[in-house]
Amino acid sequence: MLIDSNVFMEIALMRQRAKICADLLYAIKTDMIVEDVFVTKFTLNAIEAMLSGKQKDFLRDLLILVYQGKIKTVKNMSEDDMSALAIQSEIGLDFDDTVQFLAASRLGTYLVTYDQDFAKTSLLTKTPEEVLSELSKA
């Protein structure tokens, strides 16, 4: 799974699904998720920029997951950025979303997100609720 930035920000902003997003992160932290978990470097940069100042403890705990290899970072290759520019209007996404779309497609995985814009693409997306529900049934 590739996790989109809105999943992390849902927690920090105490939006309605904050708890379930925190549950997803804790499941990753405690090795309850066997499949590979990814974030793009693009997402990590956005989170790092937004979670500055008082939120640095949250950022630190996220980065620990990265350092421990529990979340793997995907570097956006310059070719991907070029491709994103080229195809974003074709698939109807903005640049940021197109970068996520390309990264998930390249990894052959799905995107964990609340962003409905991906529904107009062929990319498989799941919400954190769906991921945790599937794990509960497994």
């Binding site: 925190a22 549950d23 405690t30 066997v34 937004m50 939120q55 705990d61």
Partner: protein, 105 residues
């Protein structure tokens, strides 16, 4: 980490005798490539690698338990840590993430 000396191969020897070393790795198991007296690379048969990979993922797998997660979740303390930021009022996390560069300066 200790390795049997019979498993060790210098990088120079590998360069000149790659075929022999690959055959030995297939028939006798791992080869440890040594550079400047330090083990730097391990060569092992694909089947051995698959076994290692599977055992690592088995080891990693813990039974998913939502109750357990919710009992000790150390990420709960961060819920709402940015809630008082006036720039984010009334916006969803999706909207903010789409325009994150507007808020970080």
């Amino acid at each position: 980490m200790q390795f049997d000396s019979s498993q060790q191969v210098s990088a120079t020897y590998l360069r000149n005798n790659a075929s022999e070393i690959i055959d030995k790795a297939i028939s006798e198991g791992i080869r440890v490539i040594v550079r400047r007296s330090k083990p730097v690379v391990i060569m092992l048969p694909v089947q051995e690698y698959e076994k290692l990979k599977n055992s690592a993922s088995q080891k990693k797998k813990k039974k998913f338990n939502l109750e357990e997660i919710r009992k000790d979740n150390t990420f709960y303390k961060y819920i709402g840590c940015m809630e008082d930021n006036p720039d984010f009022k009334g916006l969803t996390s999706v909207q903010i993430c789409k325009k994150w560069t507007d808020y970080v300066d």
